[in-house]
Symmetry: C2
Subunit: 244 residues, 2 copies
DNA sequence: CGCTCAGTTGAAACTCGTCAAAACACGTGG
DNA sequence: CCACGTGTTTTGACGAGTTTCAACTGAGCG
């Protein structure tokens, strides 16, 4: 099974169980990935999408910008995540997609997506994945709208812990997070300086140790309690994260 | 054509053009609506959805709550809007839906939705509608994350103006908005008091006159310019709002 | 008339943003 | 190996924006 297909399969299995036939189908329709540099636009606002992009390796994001250049990240795309399945339905993009780190991206042609939708299990997994994307958007909205900076960052870190663990990219007490504090600020709607102060405070309280791309969470339960994190909205299968 | 079907048709025609056959199909699968009081839960977080709810009359919303009782509205459902088409795919709701004003709600059974998805034009319209819902979420996230209170409220009022105009519920320079300032605050992530101050300031600058459920916008272009509003993300057809 | 709920106002406290500078990490080329 | 440059993290001081509390006004309704 090629690398791209494997990554997608891993992600989809966190949402629905797949048969051997499904895995073969995935392998057949997912093209090999190509390499992109860090911080590079994959598609810009206003452009017309041709493919569904699948992140195979690295971190990417969806973003929107304001006239004055302020940018807000409206989604984080982890390995296995992809752009909207029905994106081709919309004339033009209302947001951009960019790499964060260096990435491997597979461009799935329209027909490949349609083929996958033929399989009931894959259809279910793919549709669930778009529903989860939407659920995450709602949770982020709540996060920014109602929580204050400390809980806000804590909540974001909890979410990433869960999402990364589901795809085998995080351990019990920590994970690699290749995001600068400025970028965390662009997600959380906080200034870089304030993110830094919050990070410092979380460290002082021994809740999170964040430094140079690495997140350590000594007691995930305590952190989750602090910010009221509840993973329900991620709609992960119970056994997610336990397979190879 | 029954009332519920008519409302849905009006909404869908803002997204894709429908044939006479499509309209008949809609009429056949949409059941009559029933009445709900104002401020009543239609479905709560954690419950399992059985139907797709269609708002026929009145305003409803999706909301999420925090432990401490703070509530945030993550979507506003106007006449013609409905809950997620594939909601039944998810085990339990990660948010609640509630009426705002008194409402007429039609509960579309699963099979009705499937029937509509058979028609290419309806499928396109329905899928586009979920994509637009997601686009609105992203825009709200940007709005709360990056804009300050005045532009934030202005942007929200611009969006509602466009959405209501598309379904024939707003004129060139104003519309009825049955939301309290407290509720606007729950959307914008602002305290009631601050919403009030911003409303006052917008009135002073002759941008928006908001009082007792009525919004008057003497110069929509000027207001849109102030907050950087660009309707692209609503993906409305050009002729939206011009039909009966 | 008196109730209730929405809107309004002021003062004080607090959260967070801005500006500016310094400390630090990392990669590069000398 | 060190020096240098770039980009990220850290710090302090200050001010702007926003929340909170508490009281008051006004409209609608029984």
């Amino acid at each position: 099974m090629n690398r791209s297909a494997q990554v997608l399969a891993t992600k989809l299995r966190t949402l629905s169980s797949l048969s051997a036939g499904d895995l073969e189908l995935i392998d057949r329709v997912i093209p090999p990935a190509s390499h992109y540099e860090a911080r590079r636009d994959l598609i810009r606002e206003g452009e017309v999408p041709q493919y569904v992009m699948l992140v195979v390796q690295g971190f990417a994001c969806r973003y929107k910008t304001l006239r004055d250049g302020k940018r807000h990240l409206v989604a984080l795309l982890l390995p296995g995540d992809c752009g909207d399945l029905h994106a081709p339905l919309l004339d033009h993009m209302d947001h951009g997609i960019a790499t964060h780190t260096a990435c491997l991206i597979a461009k799935i042609p329209r027909e490949g997506v349609l083929d996958m939708l033929e399989s009931p299990a894959l259809e279910k997994a793919l549709r669930r994945s778009t529903l989860v994307d939407e659920a995450i958007l709602r949770e982020w909205l709540l996060n920014i709208g109602q929580r204050r900076s400390e809980e806000r960052l804590a909540h974001l870190l909890c979410e990433l812990h869960h999402r990364l663990r589901a795809i085998g990219m995080a351990g019990e007490a920590g994970y690699d997070l290749p995001l600068t504090q400025a970028e965390l600020g662009e997600i959380a709607g906080l200034s870089t300086v304030h993110v830094n102060r919050v990070v410092k405070e979380l460290r002082r309280r021994e809740l999170v140790y964040l430094r140079r791309g690495r997140v350590e969470i000594p007691d995930p339960r305590r952190l989750a309690w602090l910010c009221g994190f509840n993973a329900n909205y991620l709609h992960q299968l119970a056994e997610a994260g336990t397979f190879s």
